[in-house]
Amino acid sequence: MLTFALKRLGLAVLVALTVSAVSFSLLYLSGDPASAMAGESATSADIEALRRLYGFDRPFLVQYADWLFSALQGDFGQSYYFKLPVSQLIADRLSITMLLGVCGISFALVTAIPLGVAAAVRPNSFIDRTALFISVMGQALPSFWFGLVLIVIFSIQLNWLPPSGSGSWKNFIMPTVVLGYYAMPAIMRLTRAGMLEVLNADYIRTARAKGAGEWRVMFKHALRNAVVPVVSLAAVQMGFMLGGSIVVESIFALHGAGYLAWESIGRNDLPTVQALILVFAGFYIVFTFLSDLANAWLDPRIRVG
């Protein structure tokens, strides 16, 4: 188990380093960050001053190494726009994004698992077909448009929910639904497939033969085993979700890290954008690492293979 964990940890660190290198160099694609920052009306003297100020005149690798070492100590530099440390900006905004991510994945799990179980208990029934229909429709629904439609219905027509801001729990209902529905189809399909497989297992027949009630068989014996891969899928989906929060936060004007990313991109605020790419990638890497470990702990076959 320890060897497996260490191997996975090494891979995770290597992936994180590569992502940092890619995200650092992506933003130099334009050729000259100083002139991009200065804007179109800047004189060449202004650009030269900016270049010195931010150290763009140094060799690329030196800049990257410098940035990486500071980043490892939690220092992502100064935001060009806010003139504040990037790490402080992100720390301030991250709580909203994390809350949104937790709400979104909870919503997806709470709706998708019962649907998946119901679909597996009676394959090809009305419920099974409805669940399939919902998942096919859900995958074709553009999330930004879905968000706007919810605003039109629940904020404008019915006046039940506030369209933007983050003042109360009511502000989080629509963003949670918009962020969560996209993860539903995958979780539902996996729950359904897992339950179908488990329900044919010998221990289910044994439980039934002992005379255990149908509910007890379903939830105590079957779901417990079927839900293991779902938990690790949920961890991965959560990582994707935090990255997808940029769209949801910009629609509902939730001032989280995704909104900060959108604003910073519009303002050419390179240090903030680089740090955010790394932070979002970091979440994904940590979540997949944890789900790998959980899987290996629950299923010894993975450790060996």
């Binding site: 890619v22 694609l29 096919v136 039109v152 769209v247 997949t288």
Partner: protein, 299 residues
């Protein structure tokens, strides 16, 4: 009553492979719906100049925000109404279909080329090549797609070409994963070994023994990634960092309609429904193709 000779032949021999395929295709409603809807949208996009009746870029100050045909005060000249600059909404919708289809198709081709090369190489050669490809897929999955795409488009400047290339270089992961596992399945089969035994070159084994046998999986992933690219383009354009105005992209139309949606919800409803139907059709086509080419996996 004279009996059809083909029916007679079928009774004796059993159905031909073509007949089996035909039955599967016509028995699969999702596939039929997806293929038909996609064909209609492609036809509308190709024939846009004939059907639109208006220039999608022509503005008119006197004909702004005309409602569509099902609402009161509509103009028979503008079936789907006009936008805030007086441009014909139907014309913009039809030309927008061209943008979405072009982006989906070209981005899926670029990412398909990258992903297939990586996946087939990993599956066929294994060993270090496989390790490197698996690592690259992990790196790619860790990068937040929307954020990276937005940042790169912002740096390079938004245009149709830039969006296509950026999406093409971001969406290859599923191709690599699926092509790798398909190649692994095919690699050990007899005909590949036979080709090796008679001394075929690696290039020939990959191109004429392996590729034809994993092509169906490639086409399925291609459709799903096309839908993915179309949705991402719409989201990027909606956020203001994709295709730039005045190009009639559906995501941009929704973004421009956002200001008016309080009073005129149809402004965002029309392009949104179009986007939904297009993506649904492509997804159903892809799912259907997977079902009919691999019926044993049908749930």
């Amino acid at each position: 009553m004279a009996r059809d000779i083909d029916t007679l032949a079928e009774e004796i021999q059993g159905p031909s492979p073509a007949a089996i395929l035909r039955r599967r295709v016509f028995g699969h409603y999702g596939l039929l719906f997806g293929a038909t809807a996609l064909l209609v949208i492609v036809a509308l996009a190709v024939l846009a100049p004939l059907l639109a009746g208006h220039d999608p870029y022509a503005q008119s100050l006197v004909a702004r925000m005309k409602p569509p045909f099902w609402m009161e005060g509509s103009d028979p000249n503008h079936l789907l109404g006009t936008d805030h600059l007086g441009r014909d909404y139907l014309a913009r919708l039809l030309y927008g279909a061209r943008i979405s289809l072009a982006i989906g198709l070209i981005a899926a081709l670029i990412s398909g080329l990258i992903g297939t090369t990586m996946g087939v190489a990993a599956g066929y050669f294994g060993g270090r090549v496989d390790l490197v490809v698996t690592f690259l897929v992990n790196v790619r999955l860790a990068m937040p797609v929307v954020l990276v795409a937005l940042a790169v488009v912002a740096v390079l400047g938004g245009s149709l070409q830039v969006v296509i290339v950026v999406l093409g270089f971001l969406l290859w992961d599923r191709f690599a994963v699926v092509m790798r596992s398909s190649t692994l399945q095919v690699r050990g089969l007899e005909y590949v070994n036979a080709a090796k035994a008679i001394g075929c070159s690696t290039r020939r084994i990959i191109l004429s023994e392996i590729m034809p046998n994993i092509l169906n999986n490639l086409i399925v992933v291609m459709t799903l990634e096309m839908a993915h690219a179309i949705l991402l383009e719409a989201a990027l354009s909606f956020l203001g960092l994709g295709v730039q105005p005045p190009t009639p992209s559906w995501g941009l139309m929704i973004s421009e309609g956002k200001q008016m949606m309080l009073f005129e919800p149809w402004v965002i409803a029309i392009p949104g429904v179009a986007l939904f139907i297009l993506v649904l059709a492509i997804n159903l086509l892809g799912d259907g193709l997977r079902d009919i080419t691999a019926p044993e996996n049908r749930s």
